[in-house]
Each structure stands twice: as structure tokens, then as C-alpha cells.
Symmetry: C2
Subunit: 231 residues, 2 copies
């Protein structure tokens, strides 16, 4: 049995929503409520919960606490595990400040930068160390997730160092496409490409000019698919 990538991503969003509801005092919920809150279909929520090993009653729905407990078991890393951030530029700082206050279990445990001026600073409560110490720090305190927020030209080399140092998943904010051994999980977050995609689909209904092709050029169109149960 293995969980699919999109499902794990959804579990994380279920958990966020359920935590808010828990703070608000809600004790039980129905698949439909979660679905509406997140723009999914109720059937998909039920299926995800089933695969995650959660169960509910047909009249009372699912107990919020039990769901959150189960999600913690599935999603939370071991006690002293966490993130290793490479690159403390603008984006790295944004991540540090974001994660500093947000995620309790998924903290940045080590941050590295190649710029001597940045090293030694403490950003969001995390000390920034010189990149040379990456291997020695991770040898003492292994971490399973690396985050790349460096220039694209440095990404491949740093990724390899991270993997050699024991990292088994990398979140790559770089435009570089990483080539790493099988078994290492890579999550690419290509902000530039996402912005270009949005710009494309914003224009998509307008006719395009027709320069290179001799034939008429298709007018690309996209709809946001309706994401709700037909009922």
C-alpha cells in the first residue's frame, strides 16, 4: 500500500482545516463539509480518509480529534527531524519567517548560506551557518528534508551534497532540474513557470497572432474544471 502524492498533499490541507475547526470547538464533521471547505468532492474526501485509515459514522460523521491524531501519526516527522535550508536570500528569509511561526513539528533545524555576510546572522531564530559546515552539521544531526533556495547554477551541486549527507527529500525552489539517485524524493516548486502559466491562461481566450505556422493557429483555452460532486 502506498499513498499517492496528490493524496498526501490533500491530507496536509485537511489537517490545516481541521485544526482551525478544532480551535473553534467543532467536534465532528462530514466529508461534505471538508470537501466544500477545500473545493473538492465529498467522494474524494471519503476515499482519502478511508485510505488514511480513518473511519466515521454515517450519522455523526468523523470525529475531528481522531482525524487529527491519525494525520499526526502519518504526517509528523520523528521528534528531532526537520528541514535543512540552503540559501538565505529573500526567499530563504521568507521561508524562515513563515516556518518560524507556523509549523510546530516541521522546523528549520539548520540554515546555510555561501555569503559570509549572511552567515552568523540569526534569522527567525535560526542561526545561519557557512555552507562549508553542511556536511559536519548534518553528520551530527541528520535531517531528512533539504530545501533549496539558492541560485539555479548552484542547485545540482548542493543537492548532491545534501543527499550524500543523508537527506532523502528535497524541495527545490530553483529553476534547475535535479538529477539525483532513485529513492530521493524531489518536489519542484517552479515559481517562474507558475507565473508564466497563469499569464498564459489569463490570456487564453484572446485570439493569438499567427506568425510562424502556415496554417491557422489554434486558440488555446482552459476552463477551471468544476470541482464539486454532481450530486
Amino acid at each position: 500500500m502506498r499513498f499517492s502524492e496528490p493524496m498526501v498533499e490533500r491530507l496536509a490541507t485537511y489537517r490545516r482545516t481541521l485544526r482551525r475547526w478544532q480551535r473553534e470547538g467543532r467536534e465532528r464533521t462530514f466529508s461534505r463539509e471538508l470537501a466544500d471547505a477545500l473545493g473538492l468532492s465529498a467522494a474524494q474526501v471519503r476515499r482519502d480518509l478511508m485510505l488514511a485509515g480513518c473511519s466515521g459514522s454515517s450519522t455523526q460523521g468523523y470525529p475531528v480529534d481522531a482525524l487529527l491524531d491519525r494525520f499526526s501519526t502519518l504526517l509528523d516527522p520523528p521528534e528531532d527531524d526537520g528541514l535543512c535550508l540552503c540559501g538565505v536570500g529573500h526567499l530563504g528569509r521568507a521561508l524562515l519567517s513563515y516556518l518560524g511561526r507556523r509549523q510546530p513539528k516541521l522546523r528549520v533545524r539548520a540554515a546555510f548560506d555561501s555569503d559570509p555576510a549572511t552567515c552568523g546572522q540569526s534569522v527567525g531564530g535560526v542561526a545561519v551557518l557557512p555552507e562549508e559546515q553542511l556536511e559536519s552539521v548534518l553528520a551530527k544531526h541528520p535531517l531528512s528534508v533539504g530545501v533549496l533556495a539558492v541560485p539555479a547554477s548552484a542547485a545540482q551541486h548542493l543537492a548532491e551534497r545534501l543527499v550524500r549527507a543523508g537527506v532523502r527529500a528535497i524541495v527545490n525552489f530553483t529553476a534547475a532540474s535535479l538529477r539525483l539517485p532513485h529513492g530521493v524524493f524531489v518536489e519542484d516548486i517552479d515559481i517562474g513557470a507558475s507565473l508564466e502559466k497563469a499569464a498564459f491562461f489569463a490570456q487564453a481566450r484572446r485570439p493569438h497572432p499567427v506568425p510562424p505556422a502556415p496554417e491557422s493557429v489554434p486558440v488555446p483555452v482552459s476552463e477551471s474544471p468544476p470541482r464539486h460532486e454532481a450530486s
Copy 2:
């Protein structure tokens, strides 16, 4: 004929790679080269190029210049279009500095923030305006893409204002799931969920504790699928 989302995203990455090669003086390329550079299969590159309306010769491959021209036609927004950034916190600043130097055609044309202390500053060459002016500025200078880098609690309301002001695509860095009229393209970039996903798949090979389910809990495992042509 419509282009799929993943395809448009790939086109953006093809373009980035081809631009680098063009700077290096390379004039022609083969599907295999692009595929290897980006971790895709040659067949997929050929298919994308075909759908994009590009053609090459079986002996010389594709001319780099022609590909880039075609991609510009498809991906570049109209001359005075661009991005409208909402929220100039850490992440907003990172985006401004990233886009300031990178994308020539996809610039941030307006930036807004609700914090009076932030307004009036100029970040990365873009003046930060008070959020109240969103409608009046966009009325004078319509932009087709909005970028949300605000707290999740403000996201839905701001998104609706953007759409009323003429925005047709939104890049949502917020954890909120937006409910917007059909026809508005939404690209969610959920950094928190992505980090949790990476943490999960980093752990995925370890046995999990088995608390709630009476039965043995499955050990979820994921492989990065091999992404190359079998040949």
C-alpha cells in the same frame, strides 16, 4: 484545441533552457537534448513541440531561434500587461526582487499592502501602494494576473476584489482555497503542504507506528518514477 496545464508549464521550462543555449551560441537542438536537460522523455518533448506548432528536421533537429520565437508568441503577455502583487511581506519582497531582475516581459506593474508602514516604500523598483487604491489603479491600468502573498484570512476577499477589477488569473501563495467565478484561472502554490509532502515521502520507507487502526498499518512507499525513454 487547448493546451493542457502541465504542457504550458513545460513550455516555460523549455524556453528557459533554450534561452541559455542561445546565449551560449547553440543554433539547433534535438528533442533528446531538451529531454535530458529537463528530465523528460524525448517523445514528450516532441509531442509538446508539435502541439505548440514547432517543427524540426530529422537530421538537423529544431532551430533554437524559431522555437524561442514561437514560445514568445504563445507565452508572452501583451506589451503593457503584467502582474499585480498583493502583500509585500517577506514572500512578496522575495517575489519582487526575483521578478525585478528575471522576467523581462512578466513584470510586477503594481504592488499593494495593507500596512501603512510598508506603503510608500519602493521595493525592487516597484512602488508599494495602499490596498485601498487597488480598484482605482487597476481601472486605469488593467492587469491580467494577480499574485496573493497575504495572510490566508485575507485571501478570499482580496481575490474577489482582484477579479472584480479585471484580473483573470490568480497565483495563490496562501493556504486558503479560493472560490471564484468560472473562467478565472487559479494556480495554488501551497508551500506548507509541499514541505509536509516532502517530509512524508522522506520518511516513507520507515515503518510507521500503528496507533489507531486495529489492523496493521500499511507502510506507504513512493518511488520517483524513472522519467526516461526506455528506448
